[in-house]
Symmetry: C2
Subunit: 260 residues, 2 copies
């Protein structure tokens, strides 16, 4: 992987299908985003769902109906510049594809939502551990018993990621991630997984289990997968999302997302 690849160059590789793999670690320092596309008729209530649940669904950009070029990625085409997409119909996964030009129409609205890669870079820079990276795994994700605020027909349980660390590191992690309120921000919970409905910390609902060492506290952050559960909680004729780990890479820098 070329560490000097710009977001624009990376998107060109993706568009020409020379890059079809996950985007973790690509174009470091630039903001990657979750993608949800759905019909205009449902757009107000889905936008309202995101506004009401800013921790799991922080809004980076929302395109006009039928528009394909995000304001945060000039020259990009949202139909081709994600390495892998999922297409849902009536709430059911129908197919995974590398280009959604045949599935996108003028009545669809695209939402780009913050992802945890931005604050993970800041955590690494602060010397904090990210266990799943150390172990070459996907982050552990759990459905919780915390219900998001619903909006119109959209509802979902809050999904969280978990990163284990020492108590002192947890304090530092709160400080470091608080600044990144557009990429999930501060943790939503510390320790005591049973209090948020997690029955077995060693069996995540998504991603992989990671090692939890004696004396470590489990730190939980809101997770963008929540937005996908919400979007597919309604039997819309079509919803398109990125495939897990295959994110949209924007021209924003991580630091652009801190409070200003």
């Amino acid at each position: 992987m070329d560490p000097n690849l710009s977001p624009k160059e990376l998107r060109q590789l993706i568009r020409s299908r020379q890059w079809t793999t996950p985007t973790s670690g690509a174009a470091p320092g630039y903001v990657q985003a979750n993608l949800v596309m759905l019909p205009e008729e449902a757009a107000f209530h889905f936008l309202l769902f995101c506004v009401r649940n800013p921790k799991p669904c922080p809004i980076l950009d929302v395109l006009e109906p039928g528009a394909v070029e995000p304001a945060i990625a000039r020259g990009a085409d949202i139909r081709t510049d994600v390495p892998r997409y999922r297409v849902f119909e009536k709430g059911e996964l129908k197919t995974e594809v590398e280009d959604v030009s045949d599935y996108f129409d003028d009545g669809m609205v695209s939402f780009l939502l913050g992802c945890s890669f931005s604050f993970e870079n800041a955590m690494l820079a602060a010397g904090l551990p990210i266990r799943n990276m150390e172990e070459g795994k996907n982050v552990s994700m759990y459905k919780t018993s915390i219900q998001c605020r619903s909006a119109g027909p959209f509802s979902a349980p809050l999904v969280v990621t978990m990163r284990p660390m020492t108590p002192v590191q947890a304090v530092r992690a709160v400080q470091v991630t608080t600044r990144f309120h557009l990429t999930h921000g501060a943790p939503v919970h510390l320790g005591a997984p049973e209090e948020i409905g997690i029955k077995d910390i060693h069996r995540p609902d998504f991603g992989d289990p990671v090692t939890i060492r004696p004396g470590e506290v489990q730190v939980f952050w809101a997770c963008g997968v929540t937005s996908q559960l919400a979007a597919t909680s309604v039997p819309l004729y079509r919803v398109i999302t990125h495939a897990p780990g295959h994110m949209f890479v924007s021209d924003l820098k991580d630091e652009d997302l801190t409070l200003m």
Copy 2:
């Protein structure tokens, strides 16, 4: 004015028309909000306008179409609990009333947006001057040459408030207001009013002129009036807003709006 009045008690006085005056200084410590109501057909694009312009239009609450009880003020009725409303039709001011029950219908969506009262309290607590308060005037407001990001048919110039202070106080004001990102947050400009299209600082477009002392820098914050200009920039059959200074008083405390 009873300084111990709770937001709920204040809203009851307003609803029974025992309180019909501006809300500045009422129920101190509690968040007051700008109100915009408009038809459901325009709600997606107006919400998008707010999302795209978070500094002038920070979203505190958006109600479902036809709903009248905000999540941030349990038991309230948005049709009666503002002391004075403005009713616009086709973009033109039609009337000012103390109750909009006769103008509100099941197809209208209510938006509550942050106002500067919250960060002004924090500035006062930090010993910073608020000149218009010292002089018993309304804050000076100016239309700028900065265009907001449009959304669908909605557009507006950025409106700003101005508070003069010493350079050292300006630095402190940036620190203090940055935490309040849901009530306009950090300043958008410092000094040099001509750079943002303000021709005569002594002739504000709204509110009153205030004294600017030698050596003071003019500090500019985004202003909620922007949302009213945007909402009335389109000839919708009806738009309702609060009348200037007559805000909606919520159950949120100022501190609830800081980064979390």
